[in-house]
């Protein structure tokens, strides 16, 4: 790393390995961020077993399942887009990123209807119907909205990352010999998928 540059032009040296390392460290913070919520979930589930059991039956497993499949598939296409980029197949890579974004929208539309249905049934924070329920169920739905909401926020951020990547591909900043940003965006997207892999059973499956 010695003989490159001098003086005023500041040099940000390229280190793909280091970038990935930094991205992973960032993912750990995201992991622990959700981790805090998982700790809360675990404690409340432990304290209010019966109520959590009852409340979970009100969620629609089918919608959860469709969303799981959407995210798993999008994760695959995101990973494939890296392979395509490595092989120099830029067009295919872009197409795969678009597919990934498409699944993200499927996920969000689904979520929209799911939340909409819950809200129209009067189950939303601060609603009279919810406050009439036992404490454990209030906590369950509180956590449901917060955890899936934060997760959806991450889906949106992931989509923004991918749109940014598409722009950079167009500008030629990402190419078959320099694609670490694509890799990092994909890593972020997989994390979103990983979190959902746990949210799905915890909220939709365990009755």
């Amino acid at each position: 790393m010695s003989a490159t540059d001098h003086a005023a032009v500041h040099h940000v040296h390229r280190d793909d390995y280091g970038s990935r390392m930094g991205m992973w460290l960032f993912l750990f913070t995201e992991l622990i961020l959700f981790g805090g919520l998982f700790i809360i979930y675990a404690v409340y589930r432990f304290v209010h077993q019966q109520e959590f059991h009852l409340a979970a039956q009100e969620l629609n497993t089918t919608i959860g399942l469709i969303n799981t499949i959407a995210l798993l598939t999008s994760s695959m296409t995101a990973a494939m887009s890296i392979t395509a980029m490595q092989k120099g197949n830029v067009r295919f890579s872009k197409a795969l990123i678009w597919v990934t974004i498409g699944f993200a929208f499927v996920f969000m539309v689904n979520k929209y209807f799911e939340w909409g249905a819950k809200i129209s049934h009067g189950i939303y924070p601060g609603s009279k119907d919810l406050l009439a329920k036992p404490e454990g169920e209030i906590l369950y739905f509180g956590l449901y909205y917060v955890m899936t909401g934060l997760h959806t926020l991450h889906v949106i951020i992931g989509v923004i990352f991918f749109l940014f990547i598409l722009r950079q591909i167009k500008q030629g900043k990402i190419a078959s010999d320099r694609y670490v940003r694509l890799e990092n965006s994909a890593l972020y997207w997989h994390l979103v998928d990983l979190i959902w892999i746990f949210l799905f059973p915890l909220f939709y499956l365990i009755h």
């Binding site: 793909d16 390995y17 460290l25 675990a42 497993t61 392979t83 892999i197 059973p201 499956l205």
Partner: protein, 98 residues
């Protein structure tokens, strides 16, 4: 500079991804099916176990952890260990009579 200097990119074929994807879908199917059976407290254990298996595949293949250096694996172990400390030690309080 230190650690590992080599930087060869590892190309994973599309077919492998599809294979992993099918596996993940299969596990999803299993976990949904099993959740319909009433197994008492085991339900949560099985569901979380399957979720762990799924994440293991996502981590190793989709996220390329299998092909990364050992230091990345040490990092992940550290992060997960920390999380389980946080979770576990909280239960020193909750799992005993207060």
């Amino acid at each position: 500079m230190s650690d590992h200097q080599h930087e060869e990119s590892h190309v994973i074929e599309y077919g492998n991804y599809i294979f992993i994807w099918l596996g993940l879908l299969a596990f999803t199917g299993i976990t949904v099916t099993v959740s319909g059976i009433n197994l008492g407290n085991w339900t949560i254990v099985i569901a979380l176990f399957i979720a762990c298996v799924k994440s293991w595949y996502v981590l190793n293949y989709f996220m390329h952890m299998k092909y990364e250096d050992i230091i990345f694996k040490v990092f992940i172990a550290t992060a997960l260990f920390t999380f389980f400390i946080f979770l576990g030690f909280t239960f020193w309080d909750y799992s005993f009579t207060r």
